[in-house]
Symmetry: C2
Amino acid sequence: MSVRGNVFLPHIHKYMQTLRQFREEFEAVVHAYCAPRTPSGLYDPVGYILQLGGKRIRPMLCLSGYLFGRDEVTESLWRAALALEVFHNFSLVHDDIMDQAPLRRGRPTVHESWNVPTAILSGDVMLIDVYRLLSQAASTEQLPIVLDRFHRTAIGVCEGQQLDMDFEEMDEVNWEDYLRMIRGKTAILLGGALEIGALLGGVPEEKAAVLARVGEDLGMSFQLMDDWLDVFGDPEKTGKLKGGDILRGKKTALVHQAMAICGEADRRQLREWYQHDRSERAEADAETIVDIFETSGARESVQTEAKAYHREAIRQLDGLAIEEGSGRACLEGLMRELQGRES
Amino acid sequence: MSVRGNVFLPHIHKYMQTLRQFREEFEAVVHAYCAPRTPSGLYDPVGYILQLGGKRIRPMLCLSGYLFGRDEVTESLWRAALALEVFHNFSLVHDDIMDQAPLRRGRPTVHESWNVPTAILSGDVMLIDVYRLLSQAASTEQLPIVLDRFHRTAIGVCEGQQLDMDFEEMDEVNWEDYLRMIRGKTAILLGGALEIGALLGGVPEEKAAVLARVGEDLGMSFQLMDDWLDVFGDPEKTGKLKGGDILRGKKTALVHQAMAICGEADRRQLREWYQHDRSERAEADAETIVDIFETSGARESVQTEAKAYHREAIRQLDGLAIEEGSGRACLEGLMRELQGRES
């Protein structure tokens, strides 16, 4: 059974119940985690960023993975799910400094609300606490492999961020390199969340590794759509400035695709807009860039590529010889949700 | 037997041999760790900061702790010693951004040589790698307790740095709060290095905890002397700008002591100099501040306090019912070295 068509309503129903309940309980876990601590200058920003909301995709992937091996959620899963969300938020806090981003989920970023030193240090304390949460989530036997998988994930995220910064300074980046960058920056963590959940749930290592690949492909699809939604999504739903990536001169999937397929005149215009030392980009002129994304076919092409990754995730999941269970139902429902998302 | 007097030459001899050899081998371990990796923008700064030198105190404390339980050094100890040095350097890279420090060990800091985003991200990757090294250093049975002790250490370091930043914005900080801050910022890591080494070497938990306190007291003494050497040390040996803390308006132990014991006129002058929003401090006027440190008795008082912590470390070590061994010889030699240090 796959997530295509409408043939699996009972699955969806079960998943929706499980996920809705999980989301509510997870918010309570986050809330408890964010109780005031001293020194407040260090911990207030942690509570702030974690309670800005967000889709909690990584905790839900962790839950799905876990339910591939277990029938019900235990304390250990909550800690791991929290660890993954804290890690994700740590990376947001530090990335936002590096990208000089003013807004996150429609609110001021941590370094804007406080300052850069605070954002650095609060991010550090979050990263350190991720390992405490993971250590508490895993049994003594599970801990070495969980840490090993988490390490690969975390290093991948840093390397992806570095490539992202490197690419911003380059005039041209080929499509394959761009995909490698978003694999690190986004996809690896989604794969890691699913895999670590599965390992904690007792899923055998080889099968957990397949789930990691499923999560990565979902992540690729997710990131491509993220770039797409920045320009073509509804800002009321994304909570971001519409076309913010264009105004900041950020070279997203749309730019790289357009560069690869557009005509010479458009390419010249794109190059000029995205010159890395260009200091000002007028809002009025951004429309020209949006037009190039449309007319060159990049808009459609990026969406098509995102769908292809999504299909690949489904294909791998279908090939996974594992009993049907609530894990699979959750994951398929989550995939459906991600595919149809508008934010 | 204690480190007072000259009665333990055989000990010193053994320690010097062990330590000299360890230092050489440790540099080779660091060198191998710093082999070029891609993306170079991420890993070059890691190699840069780790190879700026430094006294390698934390690895040596880790070694000493280990030798309280074992007769010889194994691969596991090297990894832990490296983990502690990488962690220390991670904290230097991030602290230098926060403190806007231009120099570290007489060379440009990472954010000066590269830029702030690079310094943030390279620091992050170092912190992540610390956990890989620790995971590889510990056996499956040792790992949970090693991670627990390391967690307390790492959180303590972040909290200490936060207090340090908080205190910079306050007009007065009492001496006890100042001591609490340096305990976090510096002493806890020295204690943690000794304790983690001991745990990996098989020293029972209670005795490892005593060693942690010994290391902390050494760390207190070390940090007080660090503040002292910034003003009264030889810049050729410290590799730092003489009186750099004074010019940057950094409220060190000398400032807090002077504030506590000097007369009203001097206190007014200190307050004015250390106003946190004061933008310029002239080098010529710094001499007045040095004079206040001298005449108020702060110079002597800080040195006396440093010595008291050192004595307390010795007292606790003397009370530790553990067989004499090379661990004790190393530690005593190291303590002697720290006590007599000029940089």
